[in-house]
Symmetry: C2
Subunit: 300 residues, 2 copies
């Protein structure tokens, strides 16, 4: 599909806004919509059509992207009786959902859309707001190969590592796996640096000594220094991490698969949440360990 394809982008949050701007920069004809209208600021000036509703945005679009919260939000944006995107979209339109929802829900969406004559890819993203702004997101896609081939060149506007993982729902399965890895690595960094500090070692020296070997991870290099500095600011919110882990653990439960580590981490994040940390960074798992050790930490 050429990059000047008419597309709609629904959901202009921390991630969606920079993604939609990248589509405009690539030369796409973009219609945008957001639930709270303030987020559409700046789009008209760049040549986007600011739509009244998802339905309005979807008119004439070949591709309709969604980037909202959880499954109920996606469902409303797509299927609302009066204003949902499917009410005005052309038959055959390809819907691409960048939200993180459960694999089962993604599968249901694909079936519902196909029943109505549309097509669907689940395409959750990773890389944070930083990745969205830089146009360097990882995109994990589930759906038909031909649909992936059609959407992929357009997603290149904001994606870097764009992988077709498998059939419907497999993008969300991959995202679930991604989140399991992210939080396990964070837990390791949090425990290791707390251990270093409590046993009298300089955590910066420890980080330097171990990062290049079998202990190394993205989390150690990128989040370790924030933990050492006591910087709680968010690259990815604790509350969103917890939503994603809830999805992971539900999917695992449905499959009868124990995930003891992920389940423990989900519990530990509650210590952070119960002290006001919902909008702190997901590396603040280290605060849970500090609290368990006796600290009075609360989010400011």
């Amino acid at each position: 599909m050429p990059t000047n394809t008419p597309v709609a982008f629904l959901g202009l949050g921390l991630m969606g806004r920079p993604m939609a701007f990248h589509l405009l920069e690539r030369g796409c004809k973009v219609a945008v919509w957001n639930r709270s209208a303030g987020k559409t600021a700046g789009f008209a000036e760049k040549g986007a059509r600011v739509a009244e509703s998802p339905a309005d945005a979807a008119k004439g679009a070949k591709l309709v992207f969604t980037c909202v919260g959880d499954a109920p939000d996606v469902e409303e944006v797509l299927f609302h009786d009066l204003a949902g995107a499917t009410t005005k979209a052309d038959l055959g339109t390809l819907f691409v959902d960048h939200s993180t929802i459960s694999p089962a829900k993604a599968h249901d969406l694909e079936v519902s859309l196909r029943d109505e004559g549309f097509r669907f890819l689940d395409a959750p993203i990773s890389g944070g707001q930083k990745g969205a702004i830089a146009g360097q997101l990882a995109i994990m896609c589930g759906g038909a190969e031909a649909d992936f081939a059609e959407a992929e060149p357009v997603m290149r506007a904001y994606g870097k590592n764009i992988v077709h993982v498998g059939g419907p729902g497999m993008g969300q399965v991959c995202k679930a796996c991604n989140q399991v890895l992210v939080v396990a690595n964070i837990m390791g960094v949090a425990e290791a640096l707390n251990l270093a500090k409590n046993l009298g070692a300089n955590p910066e020296k420890v980080l330097e000594a171990v990062k290049g070997g079998a202990a190394g991870s993205w989390s150690l290099e990128n989040l370790g220094p924030k933990m050492i500095a006591g910087d709680d600011s968010a690259g990815f919110y604790v509350k969103h991490q917890q939503k994603d882990l809830r999805i992971v653990l539900e999917a695992a439960r449905e499959a009868g698969l124990p995930l003891p580590g992920t389940a423990l981490i989900h519990e530990l994040y509650k210590i952070v949440q119960n002290r006001g940390g919902d909008e702190k960074g997901n590396h603040c798992l280290f605060r849970a360990l500090e609290v368990m050790k006796g600290s009075d930490w609360r989010a400011e």
Copy 2:
């Protein structure tokens, strides 16, 4: 200290043997000793002096390296009444212990050796047999700055990232942190790939999609493919991993520090050990998850 310094190397196991050979290649005058004499094969031909006992090996050495099992082994090699290295070593000799033992024990050793007029560095290593053979070990050192400066050029024979972490015991603290990171990362990879498989995704595709981002780690890239292939062979034994975690958890307990993740992983490895997996690789934590899911896996 020049690289032709007379040194002793005590303990020629999987790690010690290639390390001692590297010292010979660098031009050191090396005396070697091993508890079971068979491991000294090949050393005389390369110009080493094969000693009768630790005491015999330590005669005339400026540096005495130990690379044995746990703290009681180190103590015996150094302090045995009749054959211990300290019985024949010159006053002022610098002892460098590459074994992984507890930080508290390393601290005790330093005090004991200093009381007898010797010097000591705790210098545990990371990188596995592969790293020892390649001469690319990470070495985490605790002790006096001047002693580190003296030993460092000699350790370059087999070390790459050689860091002076802090005072006595701090090398072992660093190694403990290293092991916490290693097993947390392994747990993440094991849970993520099990999840992928159980939810119908191709684990190779998942690995490809996520390894370059925030989910990335040495474990994912190096041990993920072994888990996917069902290859249980060891780079690092489960039994040694468990010994190291026991040291970590004891040190944390003494400091009153909870390490919930590491404690859980130590329990999960018991599933692998109870099915004959002591000499399988530490990535076989994924077998514990398979067993929890219903698999009949036993080590062959």
